[in-house]
């Protein structure tokens, strides 16, 4: 069987995977704090034909989607006027506590409160302060400064915990606009980061680029299928024609 059959078929499969990831980006184009997934392809293996080192040795490779990364570029910041909305300028994250007690990070600052005054994410995770304790606010008017200190009726009550990543590749996304990363990868945010109250960060999905890559993915898929067709034709001609004496 021709190796190219499987190469083009496999590539088609990878294009489908890429479209899956593009669809997820588009579905979340209006999700506050969502960070776009990007797909990178690389060749998986090569198959040497001919003797090693000989000038006519050729190789074939099959495409494999073996890496995907999350872009942590900032989305644009929009003023909303809602008092539980916070946006981060700079590459930092809010610290939140998962139900199992572990810590996760998020850039979605559209918080809400529960009946006890605990600040929560939309997914219900507790928002942590700079000491890692859940933030609880008394009743009153909320304001905040750009280092994340929250004032209630003019009195400083809490400071939002902000963390940065050492290696932005070592992250895993989780449901609810959260990211998980090993503890060693988290450092406290530096002075380059500021918090905007009454504002939210939009998703960082660039819709034009995403639509463009959607189209190119589709077309690449089509050409892979065409290649497959060519191989198929070749194979059928091989079985039909070879050995037939014409004339």
């Amino acid at each position: 069987m021709q190796l190219g059959f499987f190469i083009s078929g496999g590539a088609g499969q990878m294009m489908q995977n890429r479209l899956d990831s593009i669809s997820n980006n588009l579905a979340n184009a209006n999700t506050i704090g969502y960070m776009e997934d990007k797909t990178a392809f690389s060749s998986m293996f090569s198959n040497k034909m001919g003797r090693e080192g000989s000038p006519d040795s050729t190789s074939a490779a099959s495409l494999s989607m073996n890496s995907q990364y999350t872009s942590i570029e900032s989305g644009s910041i929009r003023n909303t006027g809602s008092e539980f909305d916070f946006a981060i300028q700079g590459k930092a994250f809010f610290r939140v506590q998962m139900q199992d007690g572990s810590e996760a990070l998020t850039r979605a600052g559209n918080f809400r409160m529960d009946a006890e005054g605990n600040l929560k994410t939309q997914g219900g995770q507790a928002v942590l302060d700079n000491n890692g304790a859940p933030i609880q606010l008394p009743i009153g008017k909320i304001s905040a400064t750009d280092n994340g200190t929250i004032f209630v009726n003019g009195e400083a009550t809490s400071q939002l915990g902000l963390s940065m990543l050492k290696d932005a590749r070592q992250i895993q996304k989780a449901e609810g606009v959260l990211i998980r990363t090993p503890k060693e990868n988290i450092v406290e945010a530096d002075n380059s980061v500021s918090v905007h109250h009454l504002s939210l960060e939009q998703s960082n999905v660039n819709s034009i680029l995403t639509m463009t890559s959607m189209i190119s993915t589709m077309r690449e898929y089509e050409s892979m299928m065409k290649t497959l067709e060519q191989y198929n034709q070749q194979a059928s001609q091989l079985s039909d024609r070879v050995g037939v004496v014409q004339g």
Binding site: N17, D20, N24, T31, N66, R169, Q170
Partner: protein, 262 residues
Amino acid sequence: MMRSLWTAATGMAAQSLNVDVISNNISNVNTTGFKRGRANFQDLMYQQVKAPGSEASSAGTQLPTGIQVGLGVRAASVDSIFSEGSFQQTDNPLDLTIQGRGFFQIQLPNGDTAYSRDGKFSTDSTGQIVTQNGDIVLPGITVPADGQAIQVAQDGTVSVVQPGGVQTILGQIQIADFINPAGLTHLGSNLYQTSNASGQAVIGNPTENGLGSIGQGMLEMSNVSMVEEMVNLIAGQRAYEMNSKAIQAADEMLQTANNVRR
């Protein structure tokens, strides 16, 4: 089948909810005391295709990043934004506003208490101060038939001038505050009710303990900003379109696969 078909479908469903909320905001742009709603979205679970840190080769090298395929979006909540609307001068003595935090307490016909920011009040046949729906404004203040020139002070004290120029204090309007107003349940007719998320009502006199003050002869307009809603509407509609295109792309790819000549 391709995941992207369903992923894009969740995107369309989410954007359609978004447009629903925006339409409700726009239709209530002139509703007294209306607070605009906002749909919040979250990404769905991720399918782990390859975990980061898994073995990449027999030599023990590890993958720096894995493959996670997201499965779309879902609505996390639709919450009301309780920012203050602008005030409109009406000069009607029973048009009241709360400047700052707090809600008027309204008694529903079934005896429950509801809460409202809409201060468009009137008196009924017995002289009681009621809402536009005829529900009593707590703590139930009755204006005597011969009372003239109703005065409502900043702290909620209601007084009238009776014949002979005697000023009589009728009562004090008390207002309620909540630790989490966004958690209140909507009853329609500009009314809210407490829920497990809002916390219990903290009742007090206006201007005390961080509560707002009462303004007379004014109404609080809705806090809907038309420009913002229109921009959100456009963004929502375009996001809806993009998701439909993603469905189309997935469909075309499947069609291509089906048409591969055998």
